[in-house]
Amino acid sequence: MNWDAWIPLLVIASSLLPGLIIFFLAEDRKRLRTTLNLAGALVKLALVCWMLWGVYHEHHYETRLTLLPDLELVLRAGPLSLLFLTLSTILWLVTTVYAIGYLEDSPHRSRFFGFFSLCVTATVGVALSGNLITFLLFYELLTLSTYPLVVHRGTEVARRAGQSYLVHTIFGGALLLLGTVWLYTLTGTLEFTPRGFLNDLGEEHRPALVIIFALLIAGLGVKAALVPLHGWLPQAMVAPAPVSALLHAVAVVKAGAFGIVRVIYDVFGVDFAAGLGVTEPLAWLAATTIIYGSLRALFQDDLKRRLAFSTISQVSYITLGVAIAGPIATIGGVVHLVHQGLMKITLFFCAGNLAETLGIHKVSEMSGVGRRMPWTMTAFTIGAFGMIGAPPVAGFISKWYLGLGALEAGQEWVIFVLAGSSLLNAAYFLPILHRAWFQEPQDAWPEEHHFGNKETAWALLLPPLVTALMALGMGMLASAPFSPLGWAQFISQREFYRP
């Protein structure tokens, strides 16, 4: 009996089973629900650490189940999978703690945590997928399990946001399905392979492959919020803060970006895709999204909406990094997958804290909030500086490698995009920081809650501090072993240099 074959399945089960049990728990079984949630998250973390150690020592973790006559459901832990997997696992743990604090005493908690666990199951599945059909399966599961979270509040606005989310993702899913089946009829395999599995395909299939690429990217671009498919994301802001945090940092948006990385590296292969001439339009699209998102963010007064447009812009760094199609830019793009997740989740946690503690939803209400909630705003500040790309926060590392990579690949225009975006980031984050730290507070906060002599509840305060510290640490200790940057370099090496 080989246990290595079962670990990926166990990773999936560690959130699926608690989720299914939680659905059947009564609302007031709070302790049991919390125990299940945290136990699942910790077990998953332990399993992931085990696999990290194993993969480092050249073990192979792979689960195969037959899905269709010639197609298998494959869960495999490769370097790229593990990068995303580790990110989701850590952030799930943190977000669970946060959500328990955030949803204290609100209705429908069993339903919420049930779908929350399903959502993480789907994300983890996306990370571990070893072929395109497995990816598709979990990608659709992600759509289905996040919809209830987006509409969780049950208000009219939430309903409309949910509808918009569905319309976008269902169409995206349909395009992805079409692209996947088409690819399968051409190649007879969907197995993710370093440098792609299309190299042996004849010249005559090139036009078809270009269309397939477009279909796949359009399907994934919906979740990755590429302009013009981004419409659902700002609307989905009505969801509770932990959901927004997870949606923006790991689950939905990242699943899309991760999918794009997969398609370019492990389906088409960078060189093959560049040869087809499809990476350059994608790079331009990503650049447009980066600038567009930043510009829109400038004019949002609603804090979560501003962060949402910022996400649209920041996630496209990942796409840009892989679309530049060079080894160094790849490092920048892939590592940003992790960095953006940590920084953005910090920002959303902080926004949630402000809303939950003081009733602040708008930037214009934030005057002097730094004095009332210094720790929260410290975390926010770290996150914001990271987004701008200021050293030593992790965001700097991503931008540095993106810039270097663009120069190395001879695409100087990218530098201007990066610089412009950094300026715009500064233009929409610095005023918030200035207002929070240096302006006089108003007479009363919109809706203040007191938590003894602390600024807010522990469960709300700790998660953003932890993630902010991690973002800081990944910037300062970027070249330490096992850092995301190290993994990203490993992945890039495998894609570009290995024989």
Partner: protein, 486 residues
């Protein structure tokens, strides 16, 4: 044990058992519920027995009374028959468990005998090997189904049942004319013999036309679907489930059989016509479902749309036979489970809230989480999202369409899925809106909720069982020899 299992002639058991059960229910109305449940469960076991038999010995053939065809009557079962029998037994058992709590005393006494008669007719239909027997079972099935549809009484139900009766009779009559033409021309009614003897001639074309029209009418393929929504929507929930999940499949099975054995090789563009009608069904049915305001009608129109998918396989079968037919078989099976679950869930909603207006569903759905979950899971299969039986079916269908560059059909398949998502979420969305809970309601027994949920779960589970199921269906090579896979 194994020897004993293959000694028994399961085919005969499958027909006599529900018949005897039905008569017993009729004679002892007080014990109808228990007798009915026991009979259906026994049928389920017998199907497993037959399955075992077929898996070990290959095609099952039994000459009743020892007289072989053409003089006697043959029972015949290959993988395809087994699939239909299994679907009927599984779904039938789920619906029976549900009905045990749904129908009260008098209704129960009426429901169980007719349902068991219907079950006997369906089993006989799937086991028949000649076109005349198919006619007899088709007629029996139709009459039993109409009786069930009229069970609720009331003007709506009787009106719907009346239309259903007329459509059904007209359908069987057209079919019978076709049978007569074939018998006159080729002197046999055994499908296997006809397959050898039939060659293109005006009489054969006329037979094909008559039989197809009759069966299409009974299968409710667009534009001959007019009788289905009222009949399915006005019947009691378990009956709607039976009609939508099983009865329309009966006539489809006959059509598929005739096509595979007799008419398919003739060619002649009929498959293109079927494809066109299927396209029409998908689009029209989905759009109609989208604009319904009553839940039951929405589900009924969804059936109209899903039937369209079965017919998309005909034009695709020309050069991707096994893939296309496997897709159809898989869609039939998963639709049976999912649609039964949907109708049962709808029945729970109706009982709980007393209405099925979609706009006012909020508080009902939210207080029946298991039912909402059943509807959602069934919806996943209907939409064709993974993992589900519906996904497997659509994947195979898309694969068959793409290998032949049939872009028209590809876009219809995709579009149908998107439209289905539209009407499923139109309902599911209500599970999450804010609603004040101040509503008088009638309790729904747990068994009714679980029956719906387990059927829906079965449709999801099928998403992981494609290989074993398709290899069972392949026994006896009902779909011909495999083309080279891509």
């Amino acid at each position: 044990m194994g020897a004993l299992l293959s000694e028994i002639s399961w085919g005969v058991v499958l027909i006599l058992l529900p018949l005897a059960g039905g008569i017993a229910c009729f004679l002892f109305p007080r014990a109808a519920k228990v007798l009915g449940l026991v009979s259906v469960f026994a049928v389920l076991l017998s199907v497993s027995g037959l399955g075992w038999n077929i898996k070990v010995n290959g095609i099952y053939r039994h000459a009743i009374g020892g007289w072989n065809a053409p003089l006697g009557i043959d029972l015949y079962a290959d993988g395809l028959s087994l699939l239909m029998l299994a679907a009927t037994a599984l779904v039938g058992f789920g619906i029976s468990v549900y009905s045990a709590d749904y129908f009260e005393r008098e209704d129960a006494a009426r429901f169980w005998p007719i349902w068991l008669l219907l079950l006997a007719a369906l089993n006989a239909l799937f086991l028949s090997a000649d076109v005349f027997n198919l006619y007899v079972t088709l007629e029996l099935m139709g009459l039993a189904a109409v009786a069930l549809a009229a069970l609720a009484g009331g003007r709506d139900a009787l009106g719907g049942a009346m239309r259903y009766l007329l459509a059904s009779l007209l359908g069987s009559l057209a079919y019978l004319f076709g049978v007569a033409l074939l018998y006159h021309g080729f002197g046999s009614m055994d499908i296997a013999m006809l397959a050898v003897r039939v060659e293109a001639s005006p009489a054969v074309w006329a037979a094909l036309g008559l039989m197809s029209v009759g069966l299409l009418l009974k299968t409710a393929l667009f534009p001959l679907h007019f009788w289905l929504p009222p009949a399915h929507a006005s019947a009691p929930a378990p009956v709607s489930a039976l009609l939508s999940a099983l009865v329309v499949k009966g006539s489809f099975y006959i059509l598929l059989r005739l096509w595979l054995e007799i008419f398919g090789p003739l060619g002649g563009g009929v498959d293109t016509l079927f494809g066109l009608l299927g396209t029409g069904a998908i689009l029209w049915g989905s759009l109609q479902a989208l604009r319904q305001t009553r839940l039951k009608l929405l589900v009924a129109y969804s059936t109209v749309a899903q039937i369209g998918y079965f017919f998309i396989s005909f034009p695709l079968a020309a050069s991707a036979g096994v893939t296309a037919w496997s897709a159809a078989a898989y869609l039939v099976l998963s639709h049976a489970l999912a649609k039964a679950a949907m109708f049962l869930a709808t029945g729970n909603v109706l009982r709980f809230g007393g209405h099925d207006r979609i706009a006012d569903l909020d508080r009902v759905v939210q207080r029946l989480p298991l039912t909402a979950c059943a509807f959602a899971l069934a919806g996943v299969s209907i939409m064709g999202l993974p993992p589900s039986g519906g996904f497997v079916g659509k994947w195979l269908l898309l694969q068959a369409a793409l290998t032949q560059d049939r872009w028209d059909l590809v876009s219809v398949i995709i579009l149908g899925g998107v439209l289905a998502a539209g009407y499923v979420f139109k309902v599911i969305g209500h599970a999450f809106t804010l609603a004040d809970i101040s509503h008088e309601s009638r309790e729904v027994p747990a068994k009714m909720e679980w029956a719906a949920l387990l059927l829906a779960f079965g449709a999801i589970l099928l998403g992981f069982l494609a290989s074993p199921v398709l290899s069972l269906v392949g026994i006896g090579v009902p779909f011909g020899v495999s083309e080279v896979s891509p």
